[in-house]
Each structure stands twice: as structure tokens, then as C-alpha cells.
């Protein structure tokens, strides 16, 4: 037996001592953990290709077990990766030969504080289960991404996620009040004894975990804002002459402070697929805790829409979206796969002044690629400064076309001043382009990674990994 094999065997024995029966190196189970929901990995798996298998999976139940596991990994110089819902779309979680630290056995609700309006949870709790619990008490976290049925809180923080209601309630960074983490070197940063609404006590090191994608350690607990469930809701749809017109209307809506809970603008191509509608349209959900505020916002919204020449057509498409919004597979299984096609989604954000150009250029450039059959778009997640556009690209099912799409897409976005990712994150997928976006900042992120993870074992091979020449 080789030295490496003996080392592995010793390591696994020690893992078993820490977590007991909550451990496996069964190849069938490892295969399930060799993937997340990155479409390229799904394409490869559907073709029978081998994916990057981890070494083993452990399900720690306490922060002490997590700490012991990470210290063990440091001792043996064996890499680890935190794993949540596995619903990420960039290949951030899968890690070859890593110990997978699956956080989902740590899923308790620690404290619901109704006066101070927060909830403290273990990081492995599913966002859906948390929302169900909060709803039963009259509250909501209103963080509802498309991965709502699968995602866990730790993963959402690690990927800097946003939810469909983020225009009103903010992204995960706005909801996060505090965090507990076991750092990659086996250290421990606990939750604050008492959270505060704001503090000016130097840079908040905990915020580095937002978007860290498992490269700085394992998030074990989080404290998040909650809201009362809004009592008053208004749903409506408006049809526009063009996607750009709808964007201009959205800008006016945001600058008026109307802040709808949901605002989604579909270009006619995507409206055709989602609603069997061949016009550019916008769906709105406004929700408030006061009837007077709702009425005022509805009235202002109608005025803006009327001024823009938009046609009001009612709730039907909003209800249709609400019903189908988590269904990511029907079209794939019924159309895309049987037609020999494949798909991916590319989300970006840009300021108002360049958003229309980003939309036009992206569609034009990507549609021209040989092998691409369709480019759909909708805009969602709005800010006073701009918004997010979410493109769905359908193309011939092969990797060559896949990477041609991504090369052109990333190049077009960067050239036009948009970001390479609004909320999906980097993972393995966007690693190639992160330096073009971050510039010098990436160098400092890598220094931080080195500080937290001197042995480079926390989800290695991802975007914060430094080269020895960069030391």
C-alpha cells in the first residue's frame, strides 16, 4: 500500500472517531456529492462522464465536530469543502479528493427574537424549512431564490445570493446580522453575544464569508433579519412597447421609492416561453404592512405606467409565475434534452445608463454564436442605481459550444461595464474571468485566503487560491 493510501486510511479512521456513523466513503454517495447544479456538470453526468469525486462525506452535528474535522484536515493536509444544498450553479461546492463537510445535520433554529426581529439558526437549515417555521409564527425572511426548495442558509451566505423579493427586502448581505464560522485554519469566530443594528468598530471580518464559497472556512451559524408577513398585496402585469421602455419605467418606479417586492421584466422571447405571450411585459408584486401605503404605491405605479404608455393586463401572469417559479426541470426534460439541446443561465447587473446596451449587445453577440438556438432575457432585482438582467441561453448540447457561449458572454459583459455575476457567484465556471472584473482586489482577496488558510485546504482550486509566485 502506498504512503498516500496509508495516510488516507489513517485520516478516515480519525474522521470516524470524530463523527461516528455520520461518515461515508461509499462511492455511490460520493458520486452524488461530486456535483452541484452547474449545468455543465449535469451535462457531463447525463453523458456518463466521470465527475470529480470527493474523498469522503461527513455530517458533523456540532461546531466542535466541525472544528475537529478542520484541524484534522490541516494536520493531514487533506482538503475539505463545505457542502449545503448542492443547488449552486457554478461548480463551487464539488471538490476532488476533499472531505465534504455537509452542514445539513446542523439545522436547528437557535433563537427567534420577536422584539428585535431576528432569527438565529445553524447554517445547515434549509431556507424553505426556515421560512415555513417563520410563517407559522407570522414572520418571514422573504429570501426566496429559485433554489428555495433545495438551498441551505450557509450556502446562500457563501454564494452571496439574492431572492426573488430582493428589490424590497435586500440580498443575503442585507439580511445577515451575524455569523459564526470555523476558519480554514481551525480557528473559531463565534456569534456576538448580542447583535446590534449597526456598529463602527473597524472592518467586519465576518463579512468576508459572504461570497467566500467555502474557501475561508465553514459557516456554522447565522443570525438574520426577519419581517412580519405583509398583510396587503397587490399583483399586476403591464405590457410595454419594448424591453428598454420597461427598463425605463422600472427606473422611475425605483426612484419614486415604490420598491416593489417583485418586479420582473420579460423580453418578448422569454415571455413567449413563460406565458405564451409575444410582448415585452413586467409583472409586479407590491406588498406592505399598511393599506394606506399599498394604495398609495399602487396609485403611483399606475401613474408611471400610464405615462409610459404601458397596458395594464392584470394578475394572471403573476399567478402563473408564482405557481411555476421553482420548476427548473419541466422545460429541460420535455424540450431541451429531447431536442439534443442544452442550456445555461447568465445573470449580470449594470447601471441604468448602460443596462439597455448590455441587453442588446449580449443578445446580439451570443445569438450569433454557431450552435446557439435561443437567447431569452428577463430583468429582476432592481436598485436605485440599476438592475439585474438574467439571460437564458439554449444551444447545441456540447462543451465546445458551451464554452464559446461563456467566452463571448463574459467578454461582452465586461466590455460593456456590467458585472460577470449578479448572484450566482464564481465557482469553477467564472474563475477564468474574475481577475478582469476585480483587478487588484483579487490579489488582496488571495492574501486574505492565505491568512485564513495557510495550508490551502479549504475548497482549494477555486478563485481565491494563490499561486506560489503570488505569495
Amino acid at each position: 500500500m502506498s504512503e498516500r493510501s496509508i495516510l488516507k486510511e489513517d485520516f478516515l479512521k480519525r474522521v470516524k472517531i470524530i463523527v461516528g456513523s455520520r461518515f461515508t466513503d461509499d462511492p455511490r454517495i460520493l458520486k452524488v456529492y461530486s456535483r452541484d447544479f452547474w449545468p455543465l456538470l449535469t451535462l457531463r453526468e447525463s453523458r456518463g462522464d466521470e465527475l470529480a469525486m470527493p474523498l469522503a462525506v461527513a455530517w458533523p452535528k456540532t461546531v466542535e465536530e466541525v472544528t475537529s474535522l478542520i484541524k484534522l484536515c490541516n494536520e493531514f493536509k487533506i482538503p475539505f469543502t463545505p457542502y449545503g444544498g448542492g443547488s449552486g450553479v457554478t461548480g463551487a461546492a464539488p471538490c476532488r479528493d476533499c472531505l465534504v463537510i455537509d452542514v445539513k445535520a446542523m439545522n436547528k433554529i437557535i433563537e427567534l427574537n420577536e422584539e428585535d426581529m431576528y432569527v438565529a439558526v445553524e447554517s445547515g437549515i434549509m431556507i424553505k424549512k426556515l421560512e415555513e417555521y417563520l410563517n407559522s409564527k407570522g414572520y418571514t425572511i422573504r429570501h426566496i431564490p429559485q433554489s428555495f426548495p433545495e438551498a441551505v442558509v450557509g450556502g446562500l451566505i457563501a454564494t452571496l445570493s439574492t431572492g426573488e423579493y430582493s428589490t424590497k427586502y435586500g440580498g443575503i448581505e442585507d439580511l445577515l446580522l451575524d455569523i459564526e464560522v470555523v476558519t480554514a485554519d481551525g480557528g473559531f469566530i463565534p456569534l456576538r453575544e448580542k447583535i446590534v443594528p449597526r456598529t463602527s468598530t473597524g472592518p467586519n471580518i465576518k463579512k468576508l464569508m459572504l461570497g467566500s464559497e467555502g474557501q475561508l472556512g465553514v459557516i456554522t451559524k447565522a443570525t438574520l433579519k426577519i419581517f412580519q408577513i405583509p398583510e396587503y398585496t397587490s399583483k399586476n402585469t403591464f405590457v410595454f412597447n419594448s424591453f428598454e421602455e420597461a427598463l425605463a419605467a422600472a427606473r422611475e418606479v425605483m426612484l419614486l421609492g415604490l420598491q416593489p417586492a417583485v418586479l420582473r421584466i420579460y423580453d418578448k422571447d422569454e415571455a413567449a416561453l413563460r406565458f405564451n405571450e409575444d410582448r415585452d411585459l413586467a409583472i409586479f408584486i407590491i406588498e406592505e404592512w399598511s393599506k394606506a401605503l399599498l394604495d398609495a404605491k399602487e396609485s403611483e405605479l399606475r401613474m408611471v405606467m400610464k405615462k409610459r404608455g404601458a397596458l395594464e393586463i392584470g394578475e394572471e401572469y403573476v399567478d402563473s409565475w408564482l405557481k411555476k417559479r421553482f420548476d427548473v426541470i419541466s422545460d429541460v426534460v420535455k424540450l431541451v434534452v429531447p431536442l439534443g439541446l442544452w442550456f445555461d443561465t447568465i445573470e449580470t447587473a449594470a447601471t441604468w445608463s448602460i443596462l439597455p446596451k448590455v441587453y442588446r449587445e449580449f443578445k446580439r453577440e451570443v445569438k450569433m454564436i454557431k450552435g446557439v438556438n435561443s437567447v431569452l432575457a428577463h430583468a429582476s432585482h432592481f436598485y436605485s442605481t440599476g438592475g439585474c438582467i438574467y439571460f437564458t441561453i439554449v444551444f447545441e448540447a456540447n462543451e465546445e459550444v458551451y464554452w464559446r457561449v461563456w467566452e463571448k458572454a463574459m467578454d461582452t459583459l465586461i466590455k460593456n461595464g456590467a458585472t460577470i455575476s449578479h448572484h450566482h457567484g464564481i465557482g469553477l465556471l467564472r474563475k477564468k474571468w474574475i481577475e478582469r472584473e476585480l483587478g487588484e482586489s483579487l490579489k488582496y482577496l488571495k492574501k486574505i485566503k492565505r491568512l485564513f488558510d495557510p495550508n490551502n485546504i479549504s475548497n482549494p482550486g477555486k478563485f481565491m487560491e494563490w499561486e506560489s509566485s503570488e505569495a
Binding site: R28, V32, W59, P149, V333, L335, L339
Partner: protein, 261 residues
């Protein structure tokens, strides 16, 4: 595919050929294309946090599914495609029917599932009795029902004026009305005050069941819907005959007691 959708797509010769063949193409194993929309309702996943002990694992490895999946069918109701994963682990089972006592109104009993109650209930309620074989294999071994045998059974059941069942399994497979939703027709009154456990296969009928039970005197203090009795003893009064195998009191014990009194 709708025409409006088609208008958004660049049609190539290769795509056109595939479009023509589309009605004949079917994805056999859809679960690998899914992030796990259903996993939050899977009892084995919720209990462990282990993704392989969920439809994500069961769909990839038949033996994992055969040995670990509870075949509770909760995942199917969450699935946008209603893919019947719980009956994909083994070969077909043929259903057969035995008429044990012929009357216009019959109670349908499922072998190895509810005989403990159905024989006694049939006597006390004065109904006929029909025994179905093969259902337990569907829900314990994950075997799909042979379609011709299912058609035969459904045809045979049309010969009776009224058919009721006490097994969620019979209701699920054969769409036979539940006895617990029709107890008022037998002038049954119950005096139960406490939590009620809704079986996995009857979750979609929860509202109707509870209304029916309230109408015969039951006073539910809590509804328990997140427990699968194949995994744990349910709290509260169970509406599933199988619960008796775990020595858990069921509504059928209550009904038999009230009829005997």
C-alpha cells in the same frame, strides 16, 4: 411546443429533425436534471441531511432506493413532472382481486396492509368484502402496477354500488373513496379529542378528511403531517391501518370500539 415559443428559437436542420421526432422522445430518468425540488419533503433526507438518501440518490442508484426509500410518494407530489420515482426500483406487480363477501356496498381490503381492521369493520358495518393482492408490493418494494391488471380491477369495481377503503394505498392506486370521509353515512359518531396524524398518501385530502371527521364528533387539537410512519411512530391518532404494526392507536380502533359498544 407552442408556436410562440418556436418563434424565439433559431431553427437549424438538425433541430428541425429533432422537433419532428419530439413526440417519440422521452427522458427516462429526469431526476438527474433536477437540483432536488422534492428533497425538502423526503423523510429520509430530512432525517439525515444526506443527499444520497433522497430522490437525488435513489434516482441514481436503484439499490439505494430499494433499500432506503420509504416509498411514501411525498416526492411525487412536489415534482413538477410527477415522476413516480417510488415505483421505479423493481419489476411490475400484477394486482388481483378476491371477492370474499358479495354485497352492493363493499369494503376493499389490501392484503398485508389492513386485514386486521377491514374484516371486523365489514362485519360490523354490514358491507361486502373484497381483498386486493399486490398493493403492498407497490409501496414496500417500489414496484409499478401492471397496467392491464389495474384496468381489470377498476372494471370489476364498477359492478358495486359503493366501494370504500381504509388503506391510503388502495385509495392512492385505485382512487377508491375513503371510509373515513364517509363515516357519517354509517351513522358513526366518535368521541376523540387530540392530535390527528395524516398519512403521507392522504396529504392532498387533508382538508376533506378533517372536515369529515369533525362532522362525526372528532375534535382535532393538532394536525401532524410531517411524520412518515414507515420511519417513526407518529404522534396522535393515525388514519393509517399500518400504524397498528407499530402499536400506534388508529382511528379504526376507535371506530371498531364505537361499533362494538
Amino acid at each position: 411546443m407552442k408556436l410562440k415559443t418556436l418563434s424565439t428559437v433559431k431553427i437549424t436542420p438538425k433541430l428541425l429533425l429533432n422537433l419532428i421526432q419530439l413526440p417519440f422522445k422521452k427522458v427516462e430518468k429526469p431526476c438527474i436534471y433536477c437540483p432536488g425540488i422534492c428533497i425538502s419533503v423526503c423523510p429520509t433526507f430530512i432525517n439525515t441531511g444526506n443527499l444520497s438518501l433522497s430522490p437525488l440518490g435513489y434516482s441514481r442508484y436503484e439499490d439505494l432506493g430499494r433499500n432506503n426509500c420509504l416509498k411514501c410518494w411525498r416526492c411525487v407530489s412536489e415534482c413538477p413532472l410527477s415522476y413516480p420515482l417510488p415505483e421505479s426500483y423493481a419489476s411490475e406487480v400484477k394486482l388481483t382481486l378476491e371477492v370474499l363477501k358479495k354485497r352492493e356496498t363493499v369494503l376493499l381490503s389490501a392484503r398485508n396492509l389492513d386485514e386486521k381492521y377491514s374484516y371486523g369493520l365489514s362485519e360490523l358495518l354490514g358491507t361486502g368484502l373484497i381483498l386486493i393482492n399486490g398493493l403492498v408490493e407497490r409501496y414496500d418494494e417500489g414496484r409499478p402496477v401492471n397496467p392491464s391488471s389495474l384496468k381489470r380491477i377498476l372494471r370489476a369495481l364498477k359492478n358495486y354500488r359503493k366501494v370504500y377503503t381504509i388503506s391510503p394505498e388502495s385509495h392512492h392506486t385505485l382512487s377508491v373513496p375513503l371510509l373515513i370521509e364517509n363515516l357519517s353515512g354509517f351513522s358513526i359518531r366518535l368521541n376523540y379529542n387530540g392530535p390527528i396524524h395524516i398519512p403521507c398518501l392522504l396529504l392532498n385530502r387533508e382538508e376533506k378528511i378533517i372536515q369529515a371527521l369533525i362532522s362525526i364528533g372528532v375534535r382535532p387539537t393538532k394536525i401532524i403531517r410531517d411524520q412518515c410512519l414507515k420511519m417513526e411512530e407518529p404522534d396522535g391518532l393515525s388514519l393509517c391501518p399500518r400504524a397498528s404494526m407499530r402499536n400506534v392507536k388508529t382511528i379504526f380502533d376507535e371506530i371498531l370500539a364505537s361499533l362494538s359498544y
